[in-house]
Symmetry: C2
Subunit: 423 residues, 2 copies
């Protein structure tokens, strides 16, 4: 990938690719037998940290604890389980989240305040602490062993392989209805030196997208102050995870966390900061797209691109509205070039625009011009809509606001999955 | 039905039950062979009139014309077609809507300004005027013949039967994916005399509910000023049609029109006005429920009742959010007592509430208390959820705001219907 002539490249290693990060995933038995369901991310030194959280009034217990622990802008470990959301559990839920943090802190020999906790899964079920606590012990033992091995051994390549495998198990452990693990890592050669970035995410509930909890964890060995980290994470989230389908709905557990431990010794400034920011945003967009692509029961990936809007806010509202319209999503599933539903969904987005200046393209085929339908070949339209990737372009004549939203079609399989998720 | 000891009763006659109203429905050939698709409502004298319209930025051509013609608060006829929305058609769309009004005015011998036009169906297809114009002529001939017969003949009972049959054909003619016609009529004996009310509606697109256009027409022989009519219609719409599922989304064509011709000679005031208002609101609620019950592919009717909210606005936001959550709707389809999804959907409604004071009941069975799940019998829950009618009660501890929303479950059949609606 390239931005203004400066490059970053994809490397292996996942969430533990940056210097000083270690990760592990274990089978604690929360989810069901023989599935990874508990992940741990650990930094050799205390890291600057920032988080973005659900806007839901109802917040899960681990999320509230994590918000509290992030107040000082620092963290050293993140413990994450799947299979149980630990939400709506009253005092017991608070206690369980706290015990997850405490066990992690004790096992790693770090401060309780420096442990962040995330959970995803069913709401309103008691967390099986008798499985979680031994799980945390195994996960902590694994990262400590990795750390020791990497510091003592000279077989660097083999260490990297083991670290990467362990990070991969962490990426597996945070999945729920996801069909694919979502992880990546990048290396940036900038003027100040080499910076690495690791990322992993989960999410696949695509209709009210964040409802099927969205989690993302980002690590970097760059030196970045907490406040700057927070601003960057906010910007990156707004144009990535917040553009995955639907209307701003958020689950009780959604969170995006970023840890920067500075162990690369590189503090990106000026042009380096610009490229570093681009890399973080691009990494978040790639995860957001992977989440959309893995939408529950999805048969098609949907990208909605709005240009010419009054401003960026209007562009985002329109893109999200179209991308989250059940009628649009069902039409895409049915391979029906129903541009009327697209225009109508743009119309009720809440953003204002001139309906007489709307052009619509489906995978490059123009189907509406200046707010009116065009005569187009239904055969040609059908041919383009048989593609697994669908691009809806909406060109407005109101300004320079642009945005992209991602989602998927609405299928019979979605109903199958969600009619019986809990039981 | 009874309110404060004063009664109104259901009578036959549908939209043309009130004195001086005549209606007809014909098969113009817009939809497909042998289906009613063009309806006409006619008042013997000019009536006071009011309308509520879609909030969509993209507005259908007939809707814009109707808004213009309603500026003086009067109308004498409404012409409605199904099968074609006449939306996004540019100048041609404007001209077609205008021609529909003009033909109706000419045939009935009334002013163009006094004709309102409504359309529902596919967006972006040219209106087949070669079928519409002869259709309007037939429909106008039918209402004129009814009018003549009723004024000359002494066989009152038979006339009423014929009028009712003709009104029923009008109710059939406005249907699209509706599986049932939706019409009713009422008679109110109040201190000033007898007032009659007729109503008919269409709508069945239940996910983005108003997307599958919602139309409603109300007639009365009461004497009501336009401005008062408008206020009443606004209030009635807010607690009925605007509470049918989902998030305020509106189609390009949604409208609710009310005509009051005053031919009963009764001007309801004081207590009479109160009862008359209640009757109008109850009539609108009954249509709203019928629309929800007829949701596309619905297997269950969903009622969400919120009490104890901070205010009525919060209560409505929460009720609509839960009622329109795809995850809640799919769980109801799967007969899964997934109260966590209910609490989460309340949480992202945009309304604020204390999550620690939420009680949830499913068809009377309490499943959550004070924001926490209760131990309940899954067998008992399943038994209650096998019912075709599902009542979700959400009791908050924040105030006295109350609201009810109606919707339906999300099913495989919905996908079938909407994956291929246009073609």
């Amino acid at each position: 990938m390239e931005t203004n002539g400066v490059q970053w490249k994809e490397i292996s290693g996942g969430i533990s690719a940056p210097v000083g990060f270690y990760a592990s995933g274990v089978k604690a038995g929360v989810k069901y037998r023989e599935k990874y369901d508990l992940a741990l991310i650990f930094s050799a030194t205390k890291a600057n940290a920032a988080g973005m959280f659900t806007r839901n009034v109802v917040k899960a217990h681990p999320l509230l604890l994590t918000q509290k622990h992030l107040q000082n802008g620092q963290a050293q470990a993140v413990i994450i389980n799947s299979g149980n959301a630990n939400a709506c559990m009253g005092e017991r839920g608070e206690r369980d989240a706290w015990q997850m943090a405490e066990t992690t802190a004790l096992e790693l020999g770090i401060n309780l305040q420096d442990v962040l906790v995330a959970s995803t899964g069913v709401i309103g079920q008691p967390m099986p602490m008798e499985k979680i606590v031994p799980g945390i012990k195994s996960a902590a033992a694994a990262v400590k062993s990795l750390q020791q091995q990497c510091s003592s051994s000279i077989n660097n390549q083999r260490n990297c392989q083991i670290k990467a495998l362990s990070a991969h198990q962490a990426a597996l452990a945070i999945m729920t209805t996801d069909t694919k693990e979502k992880e990546a890592s990048f290396e940036l050669e900038c003027e100040g030196g080499t910076i690495k970035l690791g990322i992993m995410a989960k999410g696949s509930g695509m209709i009210h997208p964040n409802m099927g909890t969205m989690l993302c964890f980002i690590t970097t060995d760059a030196q970045v102050e907490s406040s700057r980290l927070k601003t960057l994470l906010q910007e990156a989230t707004d144009e990535s995870f917040n553009m995955v389908s639907v209307d701003g709905d958020t689950s009780t557990n959604d969170m995006v966390l970023m840890l920067a431990n500075g162990l690369s010794g590189v503090k990106p400034e000026g042009k380096d900061w610009h490229v570093f920011s681009q890399m973080v945003k691009e990494a978040c967009r790639s995860m957001a797209k992977a989440i959309a692509r893995d939408g529950e029961g999805a048969s098609k990936f949907l990208e909605v691109k709005v240009t010419g809007a009054k401003d960026i806010c209007s562009a985002r509202m329109i893109a999200r509205s179209v991308c989250s319209s059940n009628l649009v999503k069902t039409a895409i599933y049915g391979q029906d070039a129903n541009w009327g539903r697209i225009v109508a969904a743009a119309g009720y987005s809440g953003a204002s625009f001139d309906p007489e200046r709307v052009d619509v393209f489906l995978n490059g085929l123009q189907v509406a011009s200046q707010g009116r339908g065009l005569q187009f070949s239904e055969d040609e339209a059908l041919l383009r809509l048989t593609s697994k990737d669908i691009l809806i372009e909406i060109k407005l004549g109101d300004g320079r606001g642009e945005a992209v939203a991602w989602g998927c079609d609405l299928t019979h399989r979605y109903i199958d999955i969600n009619a019986d998720y809990r039981t």
